[in-house]
């Protein structure tokens, strides 16, 4: 099938007078991992719920897997897999029964279902666990089972709403390895998260603030656009006085404590690493080491949120 996996034009959802999602337009390519970022209440889940046919849009359009979510929600549902934010496996059932149920819900049955269930268990690394009661599994393992249930019917597009919320870092990394593997095999992945480090795994990222999509690009491009300053990581002793003085200087955008040291965001033209070292050493700092550092998505997120909520950025 041709065309984008997901395409929205001015997608809007109002609840009474509250606009949860405000004229959002974007397009997700097939096989892409698309990250949808934002604070709680920014409209991420509402967007997902419209895209998977759970919630009717108030205005605008959305096509998922080539089907209009307004007029053909049933076709949309057959083409997608969904892992919801709220954990929704049946905890009282064994692993195998959960798989068989969700397979049946998507119309799989008999030997084909049994074979596919075994296959996805293998994929998510849960082979041999079929008889275990789901409620007894650790959080990260349950998450992988939920993913297994969502991919049983080989969906074209996978929607993951905060899939790693409340999961430990190692389990999160394993989970993302799985997601990248699915994407490399051609599945489009639309994922919401508020873990900014996870968003680095996405090919492109959309940033939601108060219902509006305020930035959309690859992680690298976002960093270049939103954090043009040089980020310098500073380590050393007795940095406090120098740091206070630094913050007053021209061309210094931010001075933030970072571990035992500092993170500086400075104008590239006026501040080099050598000049920073010299400046700090002159104000009592010792053993100063300054290294250029790449901006993180966290820097991007803070910059975007700061500019979007500033008075002049309001519509």
């Amino acid at each position: 099938m041709n065309g984008a996996a997901i395409e929205t034009v001015d997608l809007t959802r109002r609840f009474g007078r509250f606009v949860a999602v405000d004229r959002v337009s974007f397009s997700v390519e097939r096989g892409e991992i698309f990250g949808y970022l934002g604070a709680n209440g920014a409209g991420k889940s509402t967007t997902i719920r419209m895209l998977i046919g759970l919630l009717a849009p108030s205005a605008g359009e959305a096509r998922v897997a080539g089907h209009d979510v307004r007029t053909a929600p049933e076709q949309v549902k057959r083409a997608i897999g969904y892992m919801s934010q709220k954990f929704s496996l049946y905890l009282d059932l064994p692993v195998r029964e959960n798989l068989l149920f969700f397979g049946g819900a998507y119309g799989l049955e008999g030997a084909a279902l049994a074979a596919r269930a075994a296959e996805v268990l293998e994929v998510v690394g849960l082979a041999g666990h079929d008889a275990e009661v789901t409620g007894a599994l650790p959080g990260g393992t349950r998450q992988r089972l939920a993913l297994a249930c969502a991919i049983l019917h080989r969906p074209e597009i996978l929607f993951l709403d905060e899939p790693t919320a409340g999961v430990d870092p190692i389990a999160r990394r394993e989970f993302w390895t799985l997601i990248r593997r699915l994407a490399s095999e051609g599945t489009t992945v639309f994922v919401t998260t508020h873990y900014l480090d996870e968003a680095e795994h996405c090919r492109r990222i959309g940033l939601m603030v108060d219902g509006r999509l305020v930035a959309l690009d690859t992680p690298a491009a976002l960093k270049a656009t939103w954090v043009p300053e040089q980020v310098l990581a500073v380590r050393g002793r007795a940095l406090a006085e120098g740091a206070r003085a630094m913050a007053q200087e021209r061309g210094v955008v931010a001075v933030e404590p970072f571990g035992a040291g500092l993170h500086l965001r400075v104008d590239r033209a006026t501040w080099s690493a050598a000049r920073v070292k010299e400046f700090l050493a002159a104000r009592g700092a010792a053993d100063v080491r300054v290294e250029p550092s790449a901006p993180s998505l966290e820097d991007v997120f803070l910059a975007v949120v700061g500019s979007s909520t500033a008075p002049e950025a309001k519509p």
């Binding site: 759970l54 009717a56 919801s84 709220k86 929704s88 068989l100 049946g104 819900a105 998507y106 119309g107």
Partner: protein, 376 residues
């Protein structure tokens, strides 16, 4: 795959999942199958409305052969047991201590009046604290008095025929045993608890857990969810019905004079209505705790109080009588008594079936409509 076979696969998956839930939680099974038997035995033995062995105090002020004969007439059967032979002043304390529920007072000169050809006078004092029992005691006493006076008349007037002789013949439950009257009512009550409560809990549970959203995001349709939820509990309901019937006939000698198939047709229709009611409750409340309470209030109370299970509908004030028409248990209780005790067929019972079917249709339609509206 055709539409129909997809429908069946999805409904089957729902029903199979629900069955596994039930199987994995033995409490549900015990609750569904153990409770009816327990309640049936408790009600069958405990809630006896039969007038049997009523403690009777005798106050014989006459002390003649005739007065003793009258007292014997009361205590000869199994209805009354003599507990005291006392002075009339002792009756009140006996009532207060619950040692006697009735007192037969034979005044002085009872035998003398009989001998003179006048009517003999005797009093029966009844503890009216429990009105229903008092009424039954009075009924029994009246019958005994009538039979005795007939005897006396024959003796004094010779073998003359009394001007009117009423021969009462109680049909269908000749020994007037409560169990036979109660079991059909209990069947309705037990089916109602099971069906409304279990569906209300299971569907509200899906909302609480968040899995309902997962279901809505899948191709499983609302009708498939409804059917998948209802079918296993319908099957469980049939097992309950069978159990209640078996216990009723085995322990309480409840007769099955009509068609068992008809019992299941009516019982099944009743169950569908109750399941629909449970579904409606859970769709509206979306919360297991609230659903439980709503289920209790809306199913148990009406099916006990307004179904005619214990209190005859004919004796209710018109407002309650009108209300009973929307209580499906009313139709089932009436129909079950008809089938089991009288051997009635559909020819007489079709209005009950229509009532049950109408309730089931309305409950399911409301539940499904409400279900759909909540999913924008």
């Amino acid at each position: 795959m055709t539409r129909a076979s997809r429908f069946l696969v999805r409904t089957g998956a729902m029903a199979a999942k629900e069955t596994v839930h039930v199987r994995r939680d033995p409490r549900t099974v015990w609750l569904a199958l153990g409770m009816p038997v327990l309640l049936l035995v408790l009600f069958g033995y405990g809630v006896s409305m039969d007038v049997e062995r009523v403690p009777l105090a005798i106050v014989d002020d006459d002390r003649t052969a005739e007065s003793r004969e009258l007292a014997r007439a009361f205590t000869a059967g199994h209805e009354f047991v003599e507990v005291a032979d006392v002075d009339v002043s002792q009756v009140e304390p006996l009532f207060r201590r619950n040692e006697a529920l009735a007192a037969l007072v034979v005044p002085r000169r009872y035998a003398e009046r009989l001998a003179r050809g006048e009517s003999g006078r005797a009093q029966l004092l009844v503890d009216g604290g429990d009105a229903a029992t008092a009424v039954r005691i009075l009924g029994k006493a009246d019958a005994i008095a009538r039979a005795t006076s007939l005897d006396l008349a024959r003796r004094t007037l010779g073998p003359a025929r009394p001007p009117l002789e009423a021969r009462v013949w109680t049909r269908y439950n000749p020994t007037e045993r409560s169990a036979i009257f109660l079991v059909p009512g209990l069947a309705a009550y037990l089916l109602a608890i099971g069906a409304v409560m279990l569906t209300a809990l299971t569907v509200a549970g899906e909302w609480e857990r968040g899995s309902m959203e997962q279901l809505f995001a899948s191709p499983v349709g609302r009708l498939e969810i409804v059917l998948g939820k209802l079918l296993p509990y319908l099957a469980l309901g049939f097992v309950q019905l069978l159990l209640v019937l078996a216990v009723g006939t085995a322990i309480f000698d409840v007769p099955v004079r009509g068609s068992v198939l008809l019992v299941f047709v009516l019982g099944g229709t009743f169950l569908v209505g109750m399941l629909g009611q449970g579904l409606l409750i859970s769709v509206v409340t979306r919360n297991q705790l609230v659903a439980t309470q709503a289920a209790t209030l809306s199913s148990l109370l009406p099916s006990v109080l307004l179904s005619g299970m214990i209190f005859p509908i004919e004796n209710m004030p018109w407002a309650l009588r009108a209300m009973s028409y929307v209580i499906p248990a009313r139709y089932l209780v009436h129909a079950l008594r008809g089938i089991l005790l009288k051997g009635n067929g559909l020819a007489t019972l079709w209005p009950d079936l229509v009532g049950l079917a109408a309730f089931a249709a309305v409950a399911l339609a409301l539940a499904t409509a409400r279900f759909r509206r909540r999913v924008a």
